[in-house]
Amino acid sequence: MTRDEPHERFLLVRTGSMSCALPTSDVVRVVRRLRCFAVPGSQPHLVGLAQYGGEPLPVLDLQVLAEGGVSNARHRSTVILGRGRTRRQSVLGLAVDEVLRVVRLPRKIGGGPDAGYAGETVKLEGEEVRVLNTQELLREERDESGATDG
């Protein structure tokens, strides 16, 4: 990738053995040790509900979301996503093991609003990185919120 090539910044995270890239445009904040309260009877990938900025925040386990299985609930960092980085819109927390850094990736990567949240995989410094479609995640969140509102 050249400097002139259109690019976008992504937040590189690691959860389990998987590395993922989240577009910084949808990242509101990174917080550590966000206290979550488990929701009985919820989906396996739902870690629980946390309080962020006075509002309840659903926190999903990224690894369970991407690969299935059971949440280990020992994540150290939580990435708070928000469409347009605003809290008024839908806000979602992704629990990860570690937030590494901010990287630059080509703009074409990331997919449109209709792509699945598990985007394509790219090579970054010899390591496979899965680029998440955060808009899809936030859309599902909005749809679920809307359904809930509706």
Partner: protein, 543 residues
């Protein structure tokens, strides 16, 4: 030769005859010389006187003298017969046959017969007494010989034992000397050991002090290590705090970068700064990790030091405990060494005294050995004397057996009884053999009984199997064997009286024995053979 009685009768008539002749010659002379009547008267008176003298002589002298002479002749005849009887009796007595001598006394006057018989009986009693005494002497001498022989043997063994005891005592004395020497050396060694024990105790005390100092140092090290552990834990807390700050810084830098990316072109430079901050935070975290790693190693080393110090302290404790035990052991050892040295000195003194006593014992034992040896020699001589006494007693016994007395111990008398039995069996060899067997059965001390004829040829014999056993008879003991050259046969043939041989060694039993032979006579008292018996001396003396 003239009859002495007729010769005495003529001498008896010689006196009166001489008177008649003197009277007649005197009358004739007077007749021739007388011339007158007076002278004729004288002649007649002379003749009458002569006649009266003759008659008186005949009545007063001649006739009594003749009666006395007759009585004398009768007495002389009786005396001769008695002398002959007495001579025969004394002849029997000379040959030792007291029984025959007593049987012949019937012809003697009662007083003489009684006196001779009394003398015979006294002699028989004396012989019997001598026999019994000689048997007892022989038995006693045999017993004395056996006992003295055993004593001599025992004395010899005792002498040998005394020699061995002397040698052993000498060895004991030498050993006592060696023990005394060894005890002295042991006492010196014990003294040296005591000194070495003192030095060892001092060295051990010094070592214990050193170990105690080491233990104190160990305790100090343990304290320092504990302090270091506490400090390490504080450092861990600081590192945790730094890590926390670094992570917070990292998150802060990431959020700053996110904000910068949201600012677009305007936040580019801020993003660089944020990334630098994030890098610093990451480096801080890496440094903290490195420090933590080093601190882990340091803590591990501290724990190792603590463990090693604890083990060292424990070992020092053990060494100190061991040192205390060793000190006690050395103290006991020193006491034991002191007692050992004292005991060794006492042993040395005692063994020296024992050596002196052993020397005295050796001297005494040597004297005892000489005395015992002299006793053994004396007992040997005593044994020889007893043996000679035994032989002498047997000789006396044999001598008494040369007499025949009316006693069951008189072999001649015994043999005479059996020759009387054989008198009825002459010519019947089977009966003779049976008699000989009966003789051996009655007299178990006889080895052999045999009957030989007048030419000295053996007719029959019987051997005592209890004495002879199953051994073969020697060449002399066989029917038909001639014994004419034997002394007993020759002596018997010479005077017909029983013969006793000197003692000789039996060919059948190898024991000392002697032979008694006696003539066997028929009903007419004619000698028809000889009965001989071989008497085993050992068994005979037992009886």
């Amino acid at each position: 030769m003239a009859d002495p009685q007729s010769k005495g009768g003529l001498r008896g008539w010689l006196g009166p005859g001489l008177i008649v002749v003197v009277v007649l010659v005197g009358g004739a002379f007077l007749e021739a010389t007388v011339d007158g009547p007076a002278e004729g008267w004288f002649l007649r008176a002379f003749l009458v006187t002569g006649l009266l003298a003759v008659v008186g002589y005949a009545l007063l002298v001649h006739l009594p003298t003749r009666r006395k002479l007759r009585d004398y002749r009768a007495f002389q005849l009786s005396f001769d017969e008695q002398c002959e009887v007495l001579g025969s009796s004394l002849e029997d007595l000379r040959h030792g046959d007291l029984v025959a001598a007593r049987e012949r006394l019937g012809g003697l006057p009662e007083d003489m017969s009684r006196a001779v018989e009394a003398a015979n009986r006294a002699l028989a009693a004396l012989i019997q007494q001598i026999q019994s005494s000689s048997v007892e002497v022989a038995n006693s001498a045999g017993t004395v010989q056996r006992i003295s022989s055993e004593l001599a043997s025992a004395s010899s063994q005792q002498a040998a034992a005394v020699v061995e005891i002397t040698a052993t005592t000498e060895e004991l004395a030498r050993t006592a000397g060696q023990i005394a020497s060894n005890a002295s050396i042991q006492a010196e060694l014990a003294a040296h050991s005591e000194t070495a024990g003192d030095e060892g105790a001092a060295a051990l005390e010094s070592a214990v002090s050193g170990v105690e100092a080491v233990r104190q140092h160990m305790d100090a090290i343990a304290g320092r290590a504990d302090t270091l552990g506490s400090r390490s834990r504080e450092i861990y807390r600081v590192l945790d705090l730094i890590t926390e700050i670094a992570q917070e810084t990292h998150i802060l830098a990431l959020n700053a970068a996110i904000e910068a990316s949201a600012a677009g072109e305007h936040g580019e430079r801020f993003a660089v700064v944020a990334d630098e901050v994030r890098r610093l935070a990451e480096r801080s975290r890496e440094s903290v990790d490195s420090v933590r790693t080093h601190l882990d190693e340091f803590s591990g080393s501290i724990r190792g030091v603590v463990v090693a110090t604890e083990e060292g302290t424990k070992a020092a404790h053990q060494v100190l405990e061991g040192g205390k035990h060793t000190q006690e052991a050395i103290a006991q050892l020193r006491r034991a060494l002191a007692e050992t040295a004292s005991a060794a000195r006492e042993i040395s003194l005692a063994t020296q005294e024992q050596g002196t006593a052993s020397d005295q014992v050796v001297l005494t034992l040597r004297e005892v050995s000489e005395v015992v040896q002299r006793i053994a020699d004396g007992l040997g001589q005593y044994t020889g004397a007893a043996e000679r006494l035994n032989q002498l007693a047997l000789s006396i016994q044999l001598l008494t057996q040369s007499f025949r007395i009316d006693s069951e111990h008189s072999l001649k008398h015994l043999l005479a009884r059996w020759t009387d039995r054989l008198r009825n069996y002459s010519g019947n060899l089977e009966a003779v053999g049976g008699v000989l067997e009966d003789l051996l059965e009655e007299c178990p001390y006889l080895e052999l009984a045999y009957l030989v004829d007048l030419s000295g040829s053996m007719i029959s014999f019987a051997a005592n199997r209890d004495l002879v056993g199953d051994r073969e008879h020697p060449g002399g003991a066989a029917v038909g064997q001639n014994y004419a050259d034997r002394p007993w046969f020759q002596a018997l043939s010479r005077d017909g009286r029983a013969a006793v041989t000197p003692i000789y060694e039996s060919l059948l039993t190898d024991d000392p024995c002697f032979t008694i032979a006696m003539a066997v006579r028929d009903a007419d008292d004619e000698m028809v053979g000889t009965l001989g018996v071989d008497v085993n001396l050992l068994n005979w003396t037992k009886i």
